[in-house]
């Protein structure tokens, strides 16, 4: 404990420094006085006595300093002194301070904002304890061409018993009509095995969750609801536990409410927006006879035993799979090559956006570096103006180390002020920034300025301060005293070395800006190409609205249980839709028929008379539409015929396919009249395997209805009256009032059945725009960064050329006096500026080639070495450099030789 007491004494001294110094001085004065008195008593003259006393005592000043520094605080005092001095210097040149702080605030603010996005999405995507233990388990049958083929119930029990996992959970998603509340609405639900909440490690806010050991067969009627549903349907009722809600007419009892911010770690936005969780038993329906070979399209999520790495777990799992294959050769034919894969749970949240986010982070880092380079340039310019001050201070005995420290303190103060200002900006603009982020960006965490982010902002500020402070500080450390003091009397002149550094900095700036501009240019071209790609359908003046026919567990309450009942409803819906105001055309389709809708519905395809090859099960996108659909979306007919009203529930089933499907499955053949069967589609209702052969009657051209980037997705359309889906979409064309329409459609639908929710109203134009949102987001941000970088680089080159001109005023004056043409002088200055820009461009082009190849995955329809982009960007850069050099060049041209010569 001695060191602690010592520290306390030292701290005490630090707090009473003034008193300490006064005490020391008084004590020493007493000593000198007593000694002097002694000498006088021995007969010395007062003056001699004083001198003798001083001689005997030693150097009072230095002794006082040694006594003071013995306490070990001089570093702190020096730093405080440096900061005070730096603050005084900045106050004296507010213009410089403002520009430097603003540049840093922009750079650090932007870096912080982007980092907070990266932190929430890439680094900490899963808001659960010990997220690294969470994995998704995917079964592959590569021999049968199937990935993520689902899991069978006996396999689920094998995994639970394997000893590899703490918890294994099965999950299935769906949506249901929520009724019994003020307005029927649609609700996303998940059926989960009871260990779900224990596995995620999240406690409910109210009530309880499922008992992980619960073995109740089938669905239980107890549900846990999300905070959102609690607020929406129950008005935040604190006594909600025990109340009930109706999902697809079935009555459920609420047993718990999850905290706000709790999300399912699902693959899609819909899954992540799950609002209700019901417990699945899987000992009964829907898994009556658990066969090993009966794979269900379920998600399998698990938590590894603590301390187990994914690699170790995977090798244990491989051994388990091998043992099971040996034990059950019938269920696992060697040809299917069954394997089980562990995928980190965060992967499906992060995988798609990793590249975009890394690009953004790289871009913002470049902007920050360019900002640093700019401030370094400003500091160097100041340093040459202050070189006399530095020389004088050195001549007075200041150590070089101390001067370098002083200058670094100044630049750190600047960058920290910038960092704080940047954070304040980000805090104030947080709402605005959040609105810029596309909805589709997968994130479970709310963006927040947390400690992580603050730490990065601090680190960025310190790094920036050191980076841009280093060059000027080094120069000050190497000052040639005699020369500086000698020449400084007249005007200021930086050393040749300083000018070289400043040129190098400008070249760097240009190179980095070029890289950013090339990246932005390539993204812009991709976006433009995508924007202008022919859609193959006409989204103008079209709206789509969704509804959902309930499919309750109790067949007696199911009003739409039979296809005939549904077809009657569909006809009535269509008839009333046509009567809505301003509607010119109306059509119905299944949810997957909505263009660019993210729900996909792939079904296995069997072609009559063709053996399924072992290696590949053909998959096609399947949807159902009424005959009006194709005309409404202006999709023409290539061959055969489209649907008509005779393709109803009593007629033989027919299909229309797109050209991609025709070319994939009947290359060089006529698909008309060919017959196919379809396997089970997306889990949901009304997507059962087809019983009878379906005859292909028509072919339509490819349209970008599945994805903007890819028109060649094989698609098959069935007649909606022959296979009626539960998830319906109403398509309306006309001069519609987009804001009033959803309410009118709701009223219309509920005039048929007041229990049906109406949701998802959108214009198709809006859907097209939304599907480009993520791309647009990256492009906008990178473009904004590129413009910022270009402006900073322009400022940089302007500063350096102006400086060179002012330094050479006398030189230019002499040339002019000797008869040089003014145009020649201007050309000389411009050449210097353009030389710097050219060097920067050359470096930048080399860097761009590397960067553009790294971002190839983000491009569409444009090569990473697109000549037009590279050439265009270089031209823009050259033009900006020229403009930035023009002002100082004109100043050089107008130098008055007489004034210039007299001045120096």
């Amino acid at each position: 404990m001695n060191w602690l007491r010592e520290l306390a004494r030292r701290l005490n001294m630090l707090l009473h420094r003034r008193q300490f110094d006064a005490d020391l001085e008084e004590e020493m004065r007493l000593h000198l006085d007593l000694r002097q008195q002694q000498q006088i008593d021995r007969g010395a003259a007062p003056d001699d006595a004083r001198a003798a006393a001083r001689r005997k005592f030693g150097n009072v000043g230095s002794l006082r300093e040694i006594s003071h520094t013995a306490w070990g605080w001089e570093w702190l005092e020096q730093t405080a002194q440096d900061i005070r001095y730096a603050a005084r210097m900045l106050r004296k040149s507010p213009g410089f301070a403002f520009v430097a702080v603003a540049t840093m605030a922009l750079g650090i603010g932007a870096t912080t904002a982007i980092f907070s996005l990266v932190d929430a999405t890439l680094l900490h995507p899963l808001p659960y304890p010990h997220p690294e233990q969470l994995v998704r388990i995917e079964d592959d049958l590569p021999g049968a061409g199937a990935t993520d083929a689902g899991i069978s119930i006996p396999e689920f029990h094998d995994l639970q018993r394997s000893g590899i996992f703490q918890y294994v959970v099965l999950e299935i998603f769906g949506s249901a009509n929520l009724t019994g509340t003020s307005q029927p609405s649609r609700m996303q639900y998940a059926g989960v095995t009871p260990a779900y909440f224990a596995m995620l490690g999240v406690k409910p806010e109210l009530g309880q969750t499922f008992d992980p050991k619960d073995q109740t067969p089938g669905f239980t009627l107890d549900v846990v609801i999300s905070d959102g549903l609690w607020k929406r349907a129950f008005g935040s009722d604190p006594h909600v536990v025990g109340r009930s809600l109706r999902g697809d007419n079935d009555l459920y009892r609420v047993i718990g409410v999850m905290p706000p911010g709790f999300h399912d770690p699902g693959r899609t936005t819909d899954e992540r927006n799950t609002e209700q969780w019901a417990a699945l038993g899987f000992s009964d329906d829907p898994a009556q006879s658990p066969l090993r070979s009966a794979r269900f399209p379920l998600e399998t999520v698990a938590r590894l035993k603590p301390g187990l790495t994914i690699a170790a777990a995977q090798s244990q799992l491989d051994a388990l799979v091998a043992a099971l294959q040996e034990q059950f050769p019938d269920a696992y034919p060697a040809g299917s090559k069954w394997t089980v894969r562990l995928v980190p749970l965060k992967e499906n949240l992060v995988g798609n956006v990793r590249q975009s986010l890394i690009l953004l982070l790289g871009a913002v880092a470049l902007v920050l570096v360019i900002g640093c380079v700019n401030v370094a340039n400003l500091l160097l310019a100041r340093a040459s103006a202050r070189s006399r001050e530095m020389a004088v201070r050195q001549a007075m005995g200041a150590a070089r180390k101390r001067l370098v420290r002083q200058l670094l303190t100044e630049s750190l103060l600047l960058s920290l002020m910038g960092g704080v200002a940047g954070l304040v900006i980000v805090f104030c603009l947080k709402g605005l920034l959040l609105r810029l982020i596309p909805e589709s960006l997968p994130r479970l965490n709310n963006l927040s300025i947390n400690w992580n982010v603050m730490l990065i902002a601090l680190a960025a500020s310190i790094a920036a301060g050191i980076i841009f402070g280093l060059a000027p500080a080094m120069h000050a450390g190497r000052l040639d005293l005699a020369n500086t003091l000698h020449t400084e009397g007249r005007g200021s002149k930086g050393s040749a070395e300083q000018t070289r550094t400043r040129r190098a900095l400008v070249v760097t700036e240009f190179a980095l800006s070029l890289v950013l501009m090339v990246a932005a240019g390539l993204l812009l071209r991709s976006f433009w190409d995508l924007y202008n790609a022919p859609l193959g359908f006409n989204p103008q003046r079209v709206m789509s609205v969704q509804l959902w026919l309930p499919s309750p567990n109790d067949p007696k309450t199911d009003a739409y249980g039979r296809a005939a009942q549904e077809a009657v409803f569909a006809r009535e819906l269509l008839r009333r839709s046509r009567l809505l105001p301003r509607v010119q055309e109306a059509a119905l389709g299944a949810e997957p028929s909505i263009p660019l809708h993210h729900e996909r519905n792939r079904s296995a395809l069997t072609v009559e008379g063709r053996q399924i090859q072992d290696t590949q099960i053909p998959l096609v996108e399947r949807s159902q539409v009424t005959p009006e659909y194709f005309h409404l979306l202006a999709i023409p007919l290539l061959r055969g015929r489209l649907f008509n009203n005779a393709d109803n529930e009593t007629a033989p089933q027919v299909a229309v396919i797109n050209q991609a499907m025709a070319e994939t499955y009947w290359p060089g053949e006529d698909p008309l009249g060919k017959r196919v069967k379809l396997g089970e589609g997306r889990p949901g209702v009304g997507q059962r395997p087809t019983k009878n052969w379906i005859t292909i009657v028509g072919v339509i051209p490819d349209a970008r209805t599945e994805s903007l980037a890819n028109a060649n997705v094989p698609q098959i359309y069935l007649s909606l009256y022959q296979e009626t889906p539960k998830e319906l979409a109403i398509f309306l064309r006309g001069d519609l009032n987009a804001s009033a329409m959803p309410e009118r459609v709701r009223a219309m639908v509920q005039s048929i059945d007041p229990e049906l929710p109406v949701y998802g109203a959108q214009t198709l134009n809006g859907a097209v725009t939304a599907s480009m949102e993520q791309r647009r987001f990256s492009m906008d941000i990178v473009a904004a960064f590129a413009v910022t970088a270009l402006l900073l680089a322009a400022l940089g080159i302007y500063g350096v050329i102006s400086y060179i001109v002012s330094e050479r005023t006398r030189d230019i004056g002499i040339r002019l006096a000797l008869g040089a043409q003014r145009a020649t002088i201007m050309g000389m200055v411009l050449r210097q500026g353009l030389g710097l820009a050219a060097a920067g461009a050359a470096l930048g082009l080399a860097g761009s080639v590397i960067v553009s190849h790294l971002m190839a995955g983000l491009l569409y329809g444009v090569s990473p070495t697109d000549l037009i982009t590279f050439a265009g960007v270089t031209l823009v850069l050259a033009a900006v450099a020229l403009a930035a050099c023009y002002l100082p060049a004109r100043r050089a041209m107008r130098v008055d030789p007489i004034v210039a010569l007299r001045y120096d």
């Binding site: 005490d23 008084e26 030693g58 002794l63």
Partner: protein, 109 residues
């Protein structure tokens, strides 16, 4: 009269011993006492007492408090602490060991 600089490293020892002998003293008295007791042989650069005293304050060997001199002036009086006494013993035995060794070396035949 010959005056000698004190051997390096012994300043602490001298201060500690002087304080142990006389209870409490201010800086001037300590310097005076060293000089007097050594019959004016040991010469301290008097000012260097003060940094040494500061270091001893940090270590906790001495404590200081303000008092009044006979001439009615404010003076800082230093006093040994328990830790100071312990340190004195350490410094003493160290010093004796060194002196003993040196003596043996120079007296060896």
């Amino acid at each position: 009269m010959q005056r000698d600089e004190i051997p390096p490293g012994t300043l602490y020892l001298l201060i500690l011993k002087s304080l142990a002998r006389s209870g409490e003293m201010h800086g001037y008295e300590i310097a005076d006492s060293i000089q007097r007791v050594s019959n004016d042989v040991l010469q301290v650069e008097e000012g260097s007492l003060y940094p040494a005293l500061q270091r001893m304050l940090i270590k906790g060997w001495v404590i200081a408090k303000w008092g009044t001199t006979a001439g009615n002036r404010r003076a800082r009086y230093y006093q040994l602490t328990a830790a100071g006494r312990k340190q004195l013993a350490v410094e003493m035995s160290q010093f004796e060991r060194v002196i003993g060794a040196i003596t043996r070396v120079i007296e060896a035949v």
